[in-house]
């Protein structure tokens, strides 16, 4: 058995009954008739050398729309992830957008002994600690905020600040650490398993030392990485992993936070990592529903059928991605809502990117404010409560 055979088997591709549903729903196959997830498997059966240079293995967004529809749960995303690692081990260097800036930054973060300055966003009103029950994992928000500082209205640091505000309101002083490093999601999905594991070890050591019983995330990718990829390699973690929406959902149920009434109509974009990868659909909706006066209007493609933001791991930015982003923004405008809410900072970056430049359609058709879920929640909490 070669490594590629193992990948095909682990993805469950031998159970495929050739029904073709995966290709029917795949957003890439819809834009490019030459692309089909099954075809990649067929080509890979002839060995890694046969597919290492195939653009298709880098074009899949690993959005799992295909697996969601597959009657046999064939998991192409995992197959693609493994293929990429194999391709990289044969010397292939993937071409990432921003000229590999993100991946370079992540590899540098994997170097031990660098004293970062990543907590500049912690204003004096925010209470954080070194040790405690709850660890708030900020991810790359501080770095992304610098990299995308020219993107109008993007408020990535506001996500981290809002999270701490929410914790503080509920009487919790979260652990926020200057030693935290990138979760490694994008390295893991671009075939760099070596540096991915280095980052993982740094984070797992750090969280262990903090004594936390719960780790809360505001980024869908970070949560997926801990929940699935870290536990795959490092075994079961002995603390709970929660998305901020789940954490707030519990706080609301316990009556620990209440919201001010607002008259607002919003729509919600399920990020693939939070939705299809982890199955978290209800928590964000419950929380939005608990905000008095806030109306959630669903888009046509929602929950399991949610559209992808077009780019994953900084690999797949092209005209297909731009079309997908515009289509998604138009769908959001079509709901008549006041804003589009999402819970993945990168969905926000990519969707916003499509409307930040000249568009092939009239601006009004796709222009709607985008806000992160965490910021929406922090701004709606009742003052003093």
């Amino acid at each position: 058995m070669t490594a590629v055979d193992d990948l095909i088997r682990d993805a469950g591709a031998y159970y495929c009954i050739e029904c073709g549903k995966c290709t029917t729903v795949c957003p890439i196959a819809n834009a490019n008739p030459e692309f089909a997830p099954r075809l990649i498997v067929v080509k890979a059966m002839a060995g890694i050398a046969n597919v290492a240079l195939e653009p298709d293995i880098w074009r899949c967004m690993t959005c799992e729309t295909c697996s969601e529809m597959c009657p046999y749960n064939v998991l192409y995303s995992e197959f693609i992830r493994g293929l990429r690692a194999e391709a990289v081990s044969t010397g292939i260097v993937p071409v990432c957008s921003q000229h590999d800036l993100m991946q370079t930054m992540m590899r540098i973060m994997a170097t031990p002994g660098i004293e970062q300055n990543r907590l500049g966003w912690v204003t004096p009103d925010l209470k954080i600690a070194d040790k405690g029950e709850v660890f708030y994992f900020t991810g790359c928000l501080p770095q992304m905020s610098t990299i995308f500082r020219d993107q109008e209205d993007v408020n990535l640091l506001g996500i981290a600040q809002s999270a701490v505000k929410i914790f503080n309101r509920a009487g919790i002083t979260p652990v926020v650490s200057n030693q935290e490093v990138c979760c490694g999601h994008d390295l893991n999905w671009t075939g760099d398993e070596v540096n991915f594991e280095k980052l993982m070890r740094i984070n797992l050591d750090l969280i262990k030392k903090s004594g936390a019983a719960k780790v809360v995330f505001t980024c869908a990718e970070c949560l997926r990485t801990f929940e699935i990829d870290y536990q795959d390699i490092a075994g079961d973690l002995d603390y709970e992993l929660l998305h901020i929406s789940e954490f707030v959902d519990d706080l609301v149920a316990e009556g620990k936070i209440t919201f001010d009434g607002v008259e607002e109509k919003v729509t919600y974009h399920d990020p693939c990592r939070l939705g299809r990868h982890l199955g978290i659909y209800d928590a964000p909706r419950n929380v939005i529903g608990a905000i008095e006066g806030m109306d959630l209007i669903e888009m046509e493609r929602t929950r399991e059928k949610s559209a992808c933001c077009g780019v994953s791991a900084w690999l797949t930015c092209d005209s297909i991605a731009k079309e997908m982003q515009l289509a998604r923004m138009m769908e959001a405008v079509g709901t008549g809502g006041d804003k589009l809410i999402t819970s993945c900072p990168k969905c926000q970056i990519h969707l916003r990117c499509a409307i930040s430049e000249e568009m092939p359609i009239e601006r009004e058709k796709a222009d709607i404010p985008i806000e992160d879920f965490t910021i929406l929640v922090a701004n709606s909490i009742k003052a003093g409560a």
């Binding site: 921003q98 000229h99 590999d100 800036l101 370079t104 930054m105 590899r107 540098i108 973060m109 170097t111 002994g113 660098i114 004293e115 970062q116 300055n117 990543r118 500049g120 501080p142 770095q143 610098t146 990299i147 500082r149 020219d150």
Partner: protein, 135 residues
């Protein structure tokens, strides 16, 4: 150990400045490795990070003076990018003094030599980069 420094020089001004320094027999330390590019606006933040990742102790980006860019505004682009990268390095815990941006025209051979001498001095004071050639 002698520091290794990468200097990105644009074709039209600063690398002509480097040539002038050379033909005029001006001295500057041998720590500088020049990479000539068509325009300072060609320099991506990732090139700077990549140079540091590969073990450079300092990176200097040089171009035509503002207003003199051969491609009109490439150097303004470079300025924006270097500013962004400086902020990023700060957050990442890499001393932002390891990155410098300087405007050097084709007639400024002496300035080329003095800027490079000064930068090498500064990097020597900072000591070796914490990334010291990881890959």
């Amino acid at each position: 150990m002698e520091p290794k420094i990468v200097a990105f020089c644009c074709k039209w001004c600063s690398s002509a400045g480097a040539d002038l320094a050379g033909t005029s027999r001006m001295k500057y330390p041998p720590n500088i490795r020049i990479i000539r590019v068509m325009c300072s606006g060609r320099i991506e933040p990732s090139y700077i990070l990549r140079a540091l990742e590969l073990g450079a102790d300092g990176v200097i980006v040089t171009g035509c003076h503002l207003g003199d860019c051969h491609y009109i505004a490439g150097n303004e682009q470079a300025k924006k990018r270097v500013e962004m990268t400086t902020e990023l390095l700060e957050t990442m815990g890499i001393d932002p003094r390891r990155l410098r941006l300087e405007w050097i025209s084709a007639s400024e051979g002496a300035r080329f030599a003095s800027v490079m001498t000064d930068f090498v001095e500064e990097i020597k004071e900072l000591g070796p980069s914490p990334l010291g050639g990881v890959s």
